[in-house]
């Protein structure tokens, strides 16, 4: 399954020139071009055709005609801004997270078509917030949720507790539980496999038992990627990039809201906290929220957390709100305007 997704998403640079790719591209032409170092579509299109015509002793007109066809075949169609805006308005949905202060931070909720990241140290409440979001989407919006659990931290009894706090009707609680599908993925290949299965299901539009899926939660992405990065293995980065591409294209193509959780690291023992998985991953989520517990509160065991916005395409970063991860109720939204940021 992993191989299939790699083949179908080959970038254009990798498309090799071969006979029959377009009319006018014969086998002899290909051999001559190859002898001069032009192997792929990009090589061909970006080279100076007069030069090529001379070196390969091919007709300039024929080369220009082939180039026109290749460009038409492989380039993306430009769209104007107004059309794009209309399309976005009709296909994007904003899913409330169930916590008014978190919604405020995220500019009214989780946007479909985007990847949102929750980061924090162990015990900062990432899984709890994810459970709260899953409960709210499943109960409040009656949408199906896919929860990919890679840490074993998903506790159904806690989810049930959160649902019980939000509604008294037992039937609704059970229905909400049935709309949340949980897949335990403890290895990167299992994650990719699960996402591929999801893609197959959605593209065949099998609505049967799964129903309209609007949200995918991956808790946590760093648990499956961390063991692969660094050292002498080079495949870690490639797998991480493939995962990020899968998540983003799923979000965009099927209008899903994707939420991932990530760890934080420090450069030195007293440096500031920064998200794990490095710079390459930092381009993947469009919104990042940092969860922190108050100073030294892990000893006191409170359920209060501070959530601050670290990256957002819509709001100024540095906004901070208070969250109560206790029972899904939230404190009075207290918007602390940025003075220190992250």
């Amino acid at each position: 399954m992993v191989w299939r997704s790699v083949l179908f998403s080959l970038p254009v640079e990798m498309v090799v020139l071969r006979a029959g790719l377009c009319p006018g591209l014969t086998e002899d032409m290909i051999q001559l071009l190859r002898a001069n170092g032009i192997r792929t579509v990009v090589d061909f299109v970006s080279s100076d055709l007069e030069d090529v015509a001379q070196k390969c002793s091919l007709s300039y007109k024929a080369l220009v005609a082939v180039r026109r066809v290749l460009l038409a075949q492989f380039s993306a169609f430009p769209a104007n801004g107004a059309d794009l805006y209309e399309e976005l308005k009709s296909s994007t949905a904003i899913l409330p997270t169930g916590s008014p202060s978190l919604d405020q931070l995220l500019d009214s909720g989780l946007y479909t078509g985007e990847v949102t990241e929750l980061m924090g140290a162990p015990g900062s409440g990432k899984t709890q917030v994810c459970l709260g979001i899953a409960a709210s989407v499943s109960l409040g919006l009656k949408q199906h949720v896919l929860f990919l659990d890679s840490t074993g931290g998903f506790t159904a009894s806690r989810l049930y507790q959160i649902l019980q706090a939000q509604t008294e009707d037992e039937e609704e609680q059970l229905e909400a539980l049935q709309r949340i599908q949980v897949v335990r993925v403890f290895h990167i290949y299992e994650v990719l496999s699960a996402l591929q299965e999801l893609r197959d299901r959605l593209s065949q539009q099998v609505l049967s038992s799964t129903g309209p899926l609007k949200m995918v939660l991956l808790d946590s992405v760093s648990a499956v990627i961390y063991p692969l990065l660094g050292g002498r293995q080079s495949e870690g980065l490639a797998l991480m990039m493939q995962l990020s591409r899968e998540l983003k294209t799923l979000a965009r193509e099927f209008s899903l809201a994707v939420v991932v959780t990530n760890q934080v690291t420090r450069d030195s023992s007293t440096g500031p906290l920064k998200p794990a998985l490095g710079r390459s991953w930092s381009f993947v989520p469009s919104t990042r929220v940092l969860l922190e517990s108050k100073e030294g509160s892990w000893e006191k065991g409170t359920s209060h957390r501070a959530a601050s916005l670290a990256k957002s395409p819509r709001q100024p970063t540095g906004i901070q709100v208070q969250l109560d991860i206790g029972n899904g109720d939230v404190l009075e939204p207290s918007l602390v305007t940025p003075t220190q940021g992250l």
């Binding site: 989810l159 599908q181 403890f186 290895h187 499956v224 961390y226």
Partner: protein, 245 residues
């Protein structure tokens, strides 16, 4: 090739299915019917929500001498308590990296546990109690604790990677104790990023074991001092980057 083998092993392990997929409702039912490993200390059982949970990793940290290894030995005995007494009737794997496992102490603990169960049986006078007590003897308890001694981190990693095979042969194991997860990693480790990587890989391996074999995994950790701006605090070793909590 290694990945494929692992995948096949997961399939043949059965139980939770090929891709471990189910709805939250199924999971809730599963969780509610799962037993806990009781610690025989009601206060501790209360804060743990009934006892040590199966299919999860629990970390015990504390200063030297506070009783971590004692608690682990107690749990290795408690996991074997028959179901009619409220236990899970499982076996235990004990991986020791510090060499602090004292068999004489385990004999004391096991003897006390057997006696405790006898007292319960006498007080309640039920049939199955008597039958269970025939198999719940000192010798049986000791023979169902599988002990491994690992001297450095390579041995520990190798042991954990070989554990799934061992567990599929001994399917009654419900508890895996690693006494001293920090010890092999704390000294003589120059490459800190390698250490984080290894620990994260280890954590993932352990959570797979806990999940697939329905066992509880217990890790003991040492404490270290974090020197802050105004004060120093005792925190669990191996840093915030460890995903083991």
């Amino acid at each position: 090739v290694r990945q494929e083998c692992h995948g096949d092993a997961a399939r043949t392990a059965g139980g939770s299915g090929v891709t471990r997929k189910c709805t939250a409702l199924d999971l809730l039912e599963e969780e509610q019917s799962q037993g806990f490993i009781i610690t025989f200390c009601s206060a501790l059982d209360n804060i743990l929500g009934g006892g040590v949970q199966l299919t999860k990793i629990t970390e015990i940290c504390g200063a030297p001498g506070v009783g971590k290894t004692q608690l682990c030995m107690q749990l290795a005995v408690d996991v074997q308590i028959p179901e009619c007494f409220g236990g899970v009737a499982g076996e235990a794997v004990f991986i020791d990296t510090e060499g602090s496992f004292m068999v004489d102490r385990v004999v004391d603990i096991a003897a006390a546990c057997v006696q405790h169960c006898h007292l319960i049986a006498e007080a309640q006078q039920e049939e199955d109690h008597g039958k269970a007590l025939e198999t719940f003897s000192l010798e049986n308890i000791l023979s169902h604790i599988y002990y491994f001694r690992c001297r450095d981190y390579t041995e520990l990693l190798a042991q954990v990677y070989l554990l799934p095979e061992f567990l599929s042969e001994h399917s009654k194991v419900r508890l895996v104790v690693i006494d001293g997860i920090a010890f092999p990693f704390r000294h003589d480790f120059e490459d800190l990023s390698l250490r984080t990587r290894l620990l994260n890989g280890l954590a993932q391996q352990l959570i797979i074991i806990a999940n697939d074999h329905k066992s509880a995994v217990i890790l003991t950790n040492q404490m270290t001092t974090r020197i802050g701006q105004n004060q120093s605090t005792l925190v669990p070793a191996l840093g915030k980057c460890s995903t083991l909590t």
